[in-house]
């Protein structure tokens, strides 16, 4: 499982990089999906199939589909690609690269310092996740659900026909 | 202008009209049969019955014939009145009782005035159950088919044939309800206007026999306005085509030229377009007989290579043609330059035409239209046989005689049909014609004198002198001009003068050649001395323009290349190194100038076969292929016409004769074909000429005949529909375009400033030649040798014209090649009337042989022999020539 983890991780990193650099929005989104899949496999390798499935259902299956939906509705790939290139001159990459680099240094540093284990010894099923969510992290879950409720009400309000 | 009441509505009508004319002027539907705009009213058919009321208070009225009721101020009539309508319906029902059940096999079906009137009166159900009257038909020659059963006794045919055009051999026979219209005996109709019976007859009694062989309904015909190319008068025609062949020619009304009529040569001469012996593929006739061995592309490449090389060395020349359009001639002129261009008119004739054109341009006289000629009161015809040269001029003379009582005096070799109604006829050879003309001129100058003709002319209100070119005799023309000049000097008015020319564009080509290019003789000379090595000939047979055929043939053989563009296989095209097919008049568009100097446009009717293109377009391609594309940057005919206009002021306005390219009426181009319920792409679709034109296959019909492609309006499918396209009966068409006159006129013919003739002008060619020296007929008097006669040619209406004689119907009517002699001369020569001889004719400069039937004619001068002009056997003849005759009898 360790090899799977590393391959998937590498794939995730490459896909994430390509997601950022593609000028064709459609291709960028596809790489994002690929990155999400790779992450899902990582979760699976780390013994969290529930999270993996949720990752795919929620992120790949719902959120990115909505993004793709918007891309489809907005403009042709060729035109938007040209626009994208104009919006992203080399200097626009400087600050994000610095921030990402800092993050990478921190992560690698902490990993190097703490060692840690790549693959979990046990599988954590949905039952365990549920148990943790509704006990330890109950406040967080409730807060998130309140936030979602607010979003839902807002969406209804905006979508209501007078 | 009187105002009359029709159905309670006031209408303004012109003075002197009758109620029927008034109704038609205002586009009201009043049925009629026997009335004809040109032949007037007789009140015979009883169909135009209207209710006529005495005044406003009259409530009952009485039935009256519209055509017999003058439309005076306050006349009150009703068309839409039950009793009148019932009466008209009954008239049709009576007529239909004996009308056969024939429409499906009747050529008139679909353009039948009787059908129209039957529908218009509402007679839809035949109650009669009895037996129908029948008649036997007569054979009326190869042109007209007779189907007497269909007759409705309107008498239009005899009224036209006898009263209107002076024919004798069609009459009405028998008694009571057995009235029969026909000849006493079967046989070809003699009148050269018999074809008009087809259009005059309101039903299918007289139909076009040539059309029968390849019949198509009027609604299927693809038609376009065209110009007759078979004589110099330029009559307007409506050519109908279907499935890629010309099917018929019909009259196209032109208020100033031919009116409602066409002669039989014009109407039936179209068959040459469909002939089998046409030139349809590029060929190399001189090289070998196997035409298919050389591809069209290779013929073209070789011809271009030859022309390109020669054009560089300056040894290129071109011969145009008086039977080709101005555009085709102009393209040739552009190819070789004005100095190396020859009009292709034989020199003697060219001289005459040049003299006439110059004098007319200078305004020495007024050249009247055919319609104007009908109003003349004294007409002198000098040395012209109008019946056979320009038949419709003959009809105009008859109209002048019959309607206005004009006195017609003839001086000529042959009287023709005009002799039948002429006041006097004096026969003579060309020399004596000229002498007679001079005498008349002298008589006029001498205040009438004792010369009777001069006296009549002097007393005339509207005298007219007509001459022709058939004798190619300059003296005759000069004598005529002398008479004209004498008239002008005497009366102080502007004299009228007309000359018939032999071909459709003779005058146009002559005017185009305003810088006097080469004469035909100088072309031959130049070939012989090697100054011309490549010759381009368009639509011309040089053997018809040149006496010494042996010399001409030798010269043509000497050429490195002889490129011929023509639609017929001719003697010239058989000697060509490269022969290319050209389009005929119905297959192309172009501009012609008729003998009264009227520029007229003909429009393409059908697409010619593959490889066949108009001469101008082929010439343009040649110019482009030799690397001079900028000289001939023409896409369409319009561009060529515009170029002619730019370089020749004489033709100013020629581009406006036809609707411009892309012209549209109510957002549609004008269609060549009538509307169909469906789209027009049948199994075999109608031809769509490639040349973009104002006329198309998919457009609409112009409203109200701005260009009456095929006159037809709802309810009026026959040619009587023409009344719907005119402002008034017998007037010009709405949006009329009768052509543009080159010779300046002032309204009805009175010229602004008469100028004296210019006798000093010498139309000498650029390079004088031995052949150019005129042979005066007067100079070479008979040298006492009894065998020497002056050989003159007489035009024949059928047979003399090079294109029409190729059709089978007219070929059948053309007389056999003859030699007409005075009986004494025949006796001396030892020949007998009616027998065929091979004759040797030996002239001063050339000799030839002729196979002909000998005819004797005691009206001929003793020293004259007459042969038919323009026949294949006699086409060498150019002008009267003294020749010695030797005869050999041909075994029967």
């Amino acid at each position: 499982m360790t090899q799977v983890f590393y391959v998937a991780s590498a794939l995730a990193v490459v896909a994430a990089f390509l997601t950022v650099t593609r000028s064709n929005a459609l291709h960028a989104v596809l790489y994002l999906v690929l990155a999400l899949f790779a992450l899902a496999i990582d979760f699976l390798a780390l013994g969290a199939p529930f999270i993996a499935a949720l990752e795919i259902i929620v992120y790949a299956g719902a959120i990115v589909v909505v993004i793709l939906f918007v891309i489809m509705m907005v403009a042709g790939a060729a035109v938007s690609g040209e626009q994208e290139r104009r919006w992203l001159p080399p200097r626009a990459w400087v600050v994000p690269s610095l921030l990402a680099g800092a993050l990478a240094v921190l992560t690698i540093g902490s990993l190097a310092a703490g060692g840690g284990q790549a693959v979990a010894p046990t599988t954590i099923g949905p039952r365990e996740v549920g148990a943790v969510l509704f006990t330890t992290y109950l406040i967080g879950v409730e807060l998130a659900s309140v936030l979602l409720l607010a979003g839902l009400v807002g969406a209804y309000y905006l979508g209501a026909r007078d | 202008m009187p105002t009359i009441l029709i159905d309670g509505n006031p209408y303004e009508v012109a003075e002197g009209r009758n109620v029927l004319q008034a109704a038609l002027d205002h586009k009201l539907d009043l049925p009629y049969f026997c009335w004809h705009p040109a032949m007037g009213s007789v009140g015979a058919c009883r169909l135009c019955a209207v209710k006529h009321y005495r005044d406003e208070n009259d409530e009952h009225g009485r039935l009256a014939m519209g055509c017999m009721t003058p439309a005076t101020e306050g006349t009150r009539v009703a068309i839409d009145e039950p009793e009148a309508a019932q009466f008209r319906r009954s008239v049709i029902e009576w007529l239909m009782i004996n009308h056969p059940h024939d429409c499906p096999v009747c050529d008139e079906g679909g353009e039948c005035h009787l059908q129209d009137m039957t529908v218009m009166t509402g007679h839809a159900h035949r109650r009669y159950r009895g037996r129908k009257r029948t008649y036997r038909n007569q054979y009326l020659g190869p042109l007209i088919h007779h189907e007497m059963n269909r007759c409705i006794q309107c008498y239009r045919c005899v009224r036209f044939y006898v009263d209107h055009s002076g024919g004798h051999d069609l009459g009405v026979f028998a008694s009571r309800d057995r009235v029969y219209f026909g000849r006493v005996e079967e046989g070809a109709l003699e009148s050269p206007f018999s074809g008009n019976l087809v259009e005059v007859c309101p039903t299918g009694v007289f139909t076009d026999k040539t059309y029968r062989r390849h019949y198509a309904r009027k609604w299927d015909l693809q038609s376009a306005p065209s110009i007759c190319g078979h004589c110099g008068l330029g009559c307007n025609t409506l050519v109908g085509a279907r499935y890629g062949s010309v099917r018929r020619v019909a009259n196209r009304y032109n208020s100033e030229v031919n009116g409602y009529w066409l002669c039989d040569r014009g109407r039936f001469g179209y068959e040459h377009v469909n002939a089998d012996d046409r030139l349809l593929k590029p060929q190399t006739p001189r090289r070998d007989g196997d035409e298919l061995s050389v591809s069209a592309g290779r013929v073209w490449d070789e011809a271009i290579a030859a022309i390109r090389v020669t054009a560089a060395t300056g040894k290129l020349a071109a011969v145009g043609s008086p039977r080709a359009s101005l555009e085709s001639n102009f393209a040739l002129l552009t190819l070789v330059g004005a100095e190396r261009f020859c009009t292709g008119i034989a020199e003697p004739e060219r001289r005459l035409v040049g003299r006439f054109a110059h004098a007319a341009r200078a305004g020495a006289f007024h050249v009247p239209t055919l319609q104007e000629i009908e109003g003349c009161d004294v007409i002198l015809v000098l040395g012209a046989d109008l019946t056979h040269e320009a038949p419709l001029l003959d009809l105009a003379l008859f109209r002048a005689h019959a309607a206005a009582g004009a006195a017609i005096h003839l001086v000529g070799l042959r009287a023709g049909r005009v002799g039948e109604f002429a006041a006097s006829f004096e026969s003579g050879d060309p020399g004596s014609i000229a002498t007679r003309g001079r005498a008349v001129a002298a008589g006029l100058r001498a205040d009438g004198g004792e010369d009777p003709v001069a006296a009549v002319l002097a007393a005339a209100h509207c005298p007219l002198v007509i001459t022709g070119t058939q004798h190619r005799d300059a003296e005759v023309l000069e004598a005529s001009l002398a008479i004209v000049e004498a008239l002008r000097a005497r009366n102080g008015t502007h004299p009228w003068f007309a000359m018939s020319v032999s071909e459709a564009n003779t005058l146009g080509v002559e005017l185009l050649d305003d810088r006097r290019g080469m004469s035909l003789a100088s072309v031959i000379d130049a070939i012989e001395v090697g100054d011309i090595s490549v010759l381009v000939v368009a639509e011309n047979d040089l053997f018809e323009r040149c006496e010494d055929h042996r010399r001409l043939a030798d010269a043509l053989q000497r050429l490195d290349a002889l490129v011929v563009l023509d639609h017929m296989v001719t003697a010239t095209s058989s000697l060509a190194t490269h022969a290319f097919p050209a389009a005929t008049i119905p297959e192309s568009s172009g501009t012609l100038v008729n003998s009264e100097g009227r520029i007229q446009r003909f429009c393409q009717v059908l697409r010619p076969a593959e490889d066949v293109v108009p001469s101008w377009s082929a010439t343009r391609d040649i110019i482009a292929a030799i690397g001079r594309a900028e000289d001939a940057d023409w896409q369409h005919l319009e561009d060529v016409t515009a170029a002619i206009e730019a370089s020749h002021p004489a033709f100013d306005g020629a581009t406006k004769l036809a609707p411009a390219l892309g012209f549209q009426l109510e957002h549609q181009p004008i269609s060549r074909v009538g509307h169909r319920y469906s789209g027009r792409n049948a199994t075999i679709r109608p031809d769509a000429p490639d040349e973009p034109d104002a006329l198309t296959e998919v457009g609409g019909l112009g409203p109200d005949g701005a260009l009456p492609v095929a006159p037809r309006t709802p309810g009026w499918n026959s040619n009587e529909a023409i009344n719907r396209f005119r402002i008034e009966v017998d007037g010009p068409l709405r949006g009329d375009n009768p052509g543009l006159r080159i010779f300046a006129t002032n309204g009805n013919g009175a010229h602004p400033a008469p100028s004296p003739l210019d006798p000093g002008r010498s139309p000498a060619a650029a390079t004088p030649s031995a052949l150019d020296t005129p042979r005066s007929t007067a100079a070479a008097t008979p040298s006492g040798d009894d065998d020497t006669v002056l050989v003159c040619a007489a035009a024949e209406i059928f047979g003399s014209e090079s294109m029409s004689r190729r059709g089978p119907a007219l070929a059948e009517l053309a007389p056999d090649t003859y030699l007409r002699l005075h009986p004494k001369r025949a006796e001396r020569l030892g020949v007998v009337e009616g027998r065929a001889y091979r004759l040797r004719l030996i002239g001063e400069t050339f000799e030839t042989s002729l196979e002909a039937v000998v005819k004797v004619d005691d009206e001929l001068p003793d020293n004259v022999a007459v042969i038919p002009a323009g026949y294949a056997e006699t086409r060498w003849w150019q002008q009267p020539t003294w020749m010695r005759l030797e005869s050999v009898e041909v075994e029967p």
Binding site: P49, I56, I57, G61, V65, F69, M72, G76 | -
Partner: protein, 320 residues
């Protein structure tokens, strides 16, 4: 037999059965539809026309594999593959046999949902990459429809998960030994079947390929094998939805006398029959009705059902 060999054998057998069954289904559908419409259907090629599908497949395989020049080539080619992979992948967790599925995944139901939600990509990519207005319209419709109905489907399944207490499909089957869940959860069953039909994009929910409006929807530009993959995907999808419904609501292979796979097949067949029957009967929805039905009827019903089920489950566990 080693575990790996057994896995491979199961995969191979499943694959073969599915890849034979799907084309057969085409024939079955055409014959059945014909019967519903008083016709005969294909009956010329082979006995009862059974080889018609083979002929059609051969025709599709021999057609030119064509990528339109205006298309975005990579997504265009990938799109049909995604459909095939996701649908076939989802079969991995379906317990055909008594002993369970190919992969006895704890989150089997979630895996199915994940696969079906990823399947949307196939349609959307096909639509966008075709670069054609009909494909685009089809894809937009498909995406909106599938997202909307997936929610209801997930919620209807959630109530089953609540009762069964497991995402594992085998566990769910085992839990239905006594009573199939269709009896306990009729609302969830109806919602699932309807949402499943919508997921399949079949009549009356076939707006993404409504031929009289947008030609063939998202696969307008597809031909040959790529089209065949879409075609195959649709019929495999029918089997998949039928299989999941069988598993979740009809107790999978449970049944007397006959072996589990046969029972399973019979039950799947019933669902397929239902789908074809619906297609033969029902006219296509209007698009706004489709959306309104999804969001205003199916979703509330599924939510209510979930709430009631949750409450009952809590009450029962509290009671016991």
């Amino acid at each position: 037999m080693s575990a790996h060999a057994e896995l491979l054998t199961r995969m191979a057998v499943t694959l073969v059965v599915l890849l034979v069954a799907a084309p057969m289904l085409v024939w079955v559908e055409r014959r059945l539809l014909a019967r519903f419409q008083l016709r005969l259907g294909p009956n010329r090629v082979g006995p009862f026309g059974i080889l018609q599908t083979v002929a059609d497949a051969l025709k599709l395989l021999t057609k030119e594999d064509w990528v339109p020049p205006f298309a975005d080539p990579v997504p265009y080619v990938v799109a049909p593959m995604i459909l095939g992979i996701t649908v076939l992948g989802a079969f991995a967790v379906v317990p055909f046999t008594a002993s369970g599925a190919i992969v006895d995944l704890d989150v089997g139901l979630l895996f199915f949902l994940a696969m079906s939600s990823v399947g949307v990509y196939s349609v959307m990519l096909a639509g966008v990459a075709s670069n054609s207005k009909y494909a685009m319209l089809g894809a937009v419709r498909a995406a909106a429809q599938m997202i909307s109905y997936e929610l209801a489907m997930g919620l209807s399944l959630a109530s089953i998960v609540l009762i069964a207490g497991s995402f594992n499909l085998h566990d769910i089957v085992v839990a239905q030994q006594g009573l199939p869940y269709v009896v306990i959860q009729p609302f969830a069953f109806v919602v699932f079947v309807i949402a499943g039909l919508a997921e399949l994009k079949r009549a009356p929910f076939d707006l993404p390929e409504a031929e009289n409006e947008i030609v063939a929807g998202f696969h307008t530009e597809y031909s040959s094998m790529k089209f065949a993959l879409f075609f195959l995907g649709e019929y495999l999808g029918m089997i998949l939805i039928g299989a999941i419904a069988t598993t979740v609501f009809l107790g999978g292979g449970n049944g007397p006398f006959l072996p589990a796979p046969v029972w399973f097949a019979i039950k799947v067949g019933l669902f397929i029959y239902l789908f074809i029957w619906a297609r033969a009967t029902l006219p296509r929805f209007r698009y706004d009705h489709l959306m309104a039905f999804g969001w205003k009827v199916l979703l509330p019903v599924a939510l209510l059902n979930l709430m009631v089920t949750g409450a009952l489950v809590v009450a029962r566990t509290a009671g016991s």
